[in-house]
Symmetry: C2
Subunit: 335 residues, 2 copies
């Protein structure tokens, strides 16, 4: 029951393998008649090209590697959906790897993906990634990489992000207009651009509204739910509690959310809360979470599009693209 090969087709049609190969790929040289004959036999024998052999020959595969921190985060799951949508349409497959926020794993997976001869990479950096040498090595080998969401300035490549700055600005501005004056920020790892820009948006919103920036109201941490818990506990130690919290993302916001409630504080009565990301969870909380929506599916599609373009044009004069997508503040009961 071994699958049919080009040789098999060639033999039963009295053609050479190369002719069959060309017919299959709709090469202009081949006569209409032979194409028909080849095609119909191929269908009959359920012939499918051996991608492995194809790849060995062409030095190219039709698989692209995706590295995300964690697929269980709805944001990334949705980005992956976007990527898949676009990429499968061109006959490509994706291999999804999770760094689990661990730098070493990220490095390991880039290795694995190289030895799988992926045509390109789509990457969102882990929280703990410091050096980007592992990616630069791939670029030197001619493997295109597009970064999304968690990007870095330390590498030249196409990037797709949302307007973190404006999103944060809008969120904090909204808090201020709603009357909150002592607004804390649960910030993310400062090596990630998203953390930087969201922090900057926070600061500038204060400034634009003539509110003082108080360093003690900014707590730095990670991007997970536990970081929200820890972060808010730190805020609890302040002499005067904040009246609102802007979290760097929804998981952190949820950590804070739980902790706030555990301490018997009311949302938004005692403390208002804003997140960033709009995972589907946020709307189910009681009260539902005000958050900055990111077009996650779109991010995936656009990043994939950029990558496919780069794969298909072996352009010498390639210039990295930088796409910034709009965010959208969703006001709900938590503010």
């Amino acid at each position: 029951m071994a699958p049919a090969t080009i040789k098999d087709l060639a033999k039963t049609l009295n053609l050479s393998p190369s002719t069959v190969s060309r017919a299959l790929r709709d090469h202009p040289d081949i006569s209409h008649l032979t194409k028909k004959r080849v095609m119909s036999l191929a269908k009959k024998l359920d012939y499918h090209p051996d991608t492995i052999a194809q790849s060995l020959q062409t030095k190219k595969t039709k698989t692209i590697g995706v590295i995300v921190p964690e697929i269980k985060q709805p944001f990334f799951a949705s980005v992956i959906n976007g990527i898949e949508e676009l990429v499968y349409a061109s006959g490509y497959t994706i291999i999804v790897c999770q760094s689990n926020e661990i730098y070493d794993r990220e490095v390991l997976y880039t290795r694995t993906l190289v030895s799988h001869r992926v045509a390109g990479l789509l990457v969102s950096l882990s929280q703990t990634t410091q050096s980007l040498d592992h990616f630069k090595m791939l670029q030197r080998r001619g493997i295109p990489i597009v970064f999304f969401d968690r990007v870095s300035n330390d590498i030249e490549a196409s990037k797709v992000v949302v307007d973190d700055y404006k999103g944060a600005l809008a969120a904090v501005d909204h808090l201020i207009r709603a009357g909150y004056k002592r607004i804390a920020h649960l910030a993310g790892p400062i090596n990630l651009s998203i953390s930087k820009y969201r922090l900057k948006g926070y600061k500038d919103a204060l400034k634009q509204n003539n509110l003082p920036f108080k360093p003690e109201l900014v707590v730095y941490g990670g991007l997970d739910e536990t970081d929200g818990v820890i972060g808010f506990q730190k805020l609890l130690n302040l002499a005067i509690l904040p009246d609102a919290v802007f979290a760097v993302n929804d998981p952190v916001a949820i950590g804070a959310f739980v902790t706030i409630k555990e301490h018997g504080l009311k949302i938004p009565g005692d403390i208002a809360l804003v997140g960033f990301s709009n995972t589907n969870v946020s709307s189910l909380l009681e009260p539902p979470l005000t958050t900055v929506e990111q077009p996650s599916y779109e991010i995936g599609k656009i990043a994939a599009q950029l990558l496919m373009d780069q794969i298909q044009n072996n352009d010498e004069t390639f210039v990295p693209k930088f796409k910034i997508l709009k965010t959208h503040l969703i006001v709900r009961g938590s503010t």
Copy 2:
């Protein structure tokens, strides 16, 4: 900057490619000295075997295909984590595909995975899957398949499931003991085993407690949040409302949850609610959702283990294994 090949190593060491190949794979024929020389040069030149070429030769790849309905469902995301954990340890990679609950996509992806020469498949069926011929074809080609969670009796293969029957029984029994008497069930697609067994658990719990089974209290639907919405709306049409709802899974429960609240009904005061799956969301609802926890991560690990065993032993006398994992009722505020 082309990556180093076995030939390169052979040339600079004055050895034949075959010797180098053997040395790399720690073949007993090769002298300790040459092994050392080969290994150290390999390290120096950053040599990595070309998996593509390897596969072409051995007719085997070290990638395994995973087909799930949707990765954005936390349950499947967690299963995938379990799979990954086990599989990467043996140097394998996974290709994750989403059927998006569409039968045709499932068929399409099995094709793709075959032409990628995957070593095996891990599958959770889509809601709309009727025939299993596409999987049987793979089995005929000698590709092992292990099904998990969403399985079917119509195919012989190893399967990993949770004890859906007992889980449902425990959930409904809990409702009855808590005093609820008119318990509705939002059931899933009846072609899936999980729906069947959960429905059976529901029925038997009623019987064991001498409560009548009322067909009008069972609403059949899909497994998504919208199905919970639609399902509960149907229940609203009843002359007498149920006092509790057992949903086939958490997404459906959440759909019902939202709808219940929209209609101004109190949980659990007016209507109690139980789900199945324990996505992390369920604990964040207000009130938090009582649900039947499934060891999702474990399911992934065990399914992967079964598959790896089957891949590694080309045993003629292979007998499919059937693993049933325990569930665990988590009682929270919704009941």
